[in-house]
Amino acid sequence: MPDSAQILRLLPEILLSVFGTLIMVLDPLTGRNRKALLGVLALVGAYCAWIGALVSYANPGPAFGGMVTVDGFATFFRLLVCAIGFLTVLASMSYLERNELPQGEYYALVLFGVAGQSLMAVSGELVLIFLGLEISSISTYILAGFLREDAKSNEASLKYFFLGSFATAFFLYGVALTYGATGSTKLVVIRQAMEGKDANVVLAVIAGALMFVGLAFKVSAAPFQVWTPDVYQGAPSPVTAYLSTGPKAAAFAIFLRIFFTTVPQTGVMWGWLLWTCALLSMTIGNFAALVQTDIKRMLAYSSIAHAGYVLVAFTSCTPIGAAAAMFYLAAYAFMNLGAFTVVSHLSGRREQYVAIDHYAGLGRRRPFLAALLTIFLLSLVGIPLTGGFFGKFYIFRAAVNADLLWLAVLGLLNSAVAAYYYLKVIVVMYMQEPKEEVTIEPVPATLAATLVLAAGAVFFLGVYPGPVLDFATRSASFSRQ
């Protein structure tokens, strides 16, 4: 029977589930014009879970028979996904109001999704990882189709659901074969079996490949990225912000944990695979983003490219690389969340203004929004003083340290290509005159708060990266225990 210490180690997930269920139950009981209260409740829930992650880190260790391991790595991603959940709720409030979307279900799904991601971060057992992945995935499939009257949103949801289920099936097949090959679903035991003689290595490699496919899909790494542009474009903008950050970070978390924990000498066996995937993701993402005219689609391709950068760090297969990937995911989460939040506000009712041309003259008309979007885009480029700069710096340093000179050089070239399309938006905003009438509503307080918080995080990571990187470096050493 689990004692209180074990339950305390699962505090964030429990809090998120409790708040999610509470919102779900309260939703039918609250009147139509008091739904905003549910949003406040969701904010409280996400905040409590964030605190809960810190509380459970005060007493780290395994729980539930080694299924759950509270360590620095788990805590890093728990804090990250809880923060993303908080900002997503904050950013969505005005959007839901404007588009008259059902609020209770939305907030409940976001909280449940974050619970799933948090669970992914903390579990050291494949069945639990799968459950977390499914909870997170299913809630995001639904969120992607939340604009029910919009054909694009429906398409996004359907595509995401079909391809996502397919990817999850791949992952699950891998889990099943892993169990067949090693006799366990616990990552630590799998590693012992792999190092010993009692594992079927051929089967284990096939299992690893299947899991790789599933996870590469979830992080939208090439060649499994095809769904990304359509889904990110069709989903409601705040949902896209969430999709491109939370589930992605959690998927990278399990990606790192599974492969670093179970595979002895990751580099030798999987190096070339990761190398190819990283380069393909960066190149396809950046070059496809160059020609986009829709800002959501452009950011979707850029998100593929960013997954490629993280994979570069992953390819190095060192704790430094893992730490760089963690830092990058944190920085990326805030800058992408911020950028998509600006997009979600400017899109107007039913997302009518999403072309890059609609941003012409924004610098004059809405200096505050334009300035913040500029900050986020510059951070995505990787300009110094922003989180994106240090993220890229650590990643390429880790790659160079691991003798991946070519990959680092190609990655840097890719960043240069990327600068073009990000800067193009800034140029349009400040230098071009608007061609058509675009109505921009005044910025609501909740949205402004989201943007300021995200921008603050981007600057914090860009000016004072030390604490976060230190924490990441200390926690990433789990991989070689």
């Binding site: 589930s17 539930f64 028979g65 799904l109 449940f112 639904i142 189709g145 006799g183 616990k186």
Partner: protein
Amino acid sequence: MLDTALFYIFAALTLGGGVLTITRRSAVHSAIWLITSLLGVAGLYLLQRAEFLAGVQVILYVGGIMVLFLFVIMLVNLDQAAKEKRFSGQKWIALACVAAVALQALWFVSKGAGRFTLGQPSIAGENLGNSEHVSRVLFSQYLLPFELASILLLVAIIGAVVMAKKRI
């Protein structure tokens, strides 16, 4: 002896049902043959002494999923589908896949079961029925996944309501 005979009966049910599922013109008939096929699979599970799995197969697939299928058949307009060609151009791809799987199976059979060593399951089998065994493990070692499954179901319930309800 009895086991072998039963195996062939169930296998015939499974395969025959499967073939009839894809060759019937009426979708409802296909669904009914699919039930036969799924029941055959349940029988095969039972022969492997996986009682719980057999039960789940009957309750979930034969009971639940088939109800869903029949509802879907009712929802979509079948008049048009009935007039279309029964097999599309994908048939050759499908046949190629079947051939590949058949070759694989042949290869496995020719090598013999002893060639393929699997890792030892961490849960040592006691002299217990399969259901009791599954239950004990589920409520001790896998208690947490069990509870979390309810969260997964909750999410799915919200999803069903959000996606299919006319006015939320």
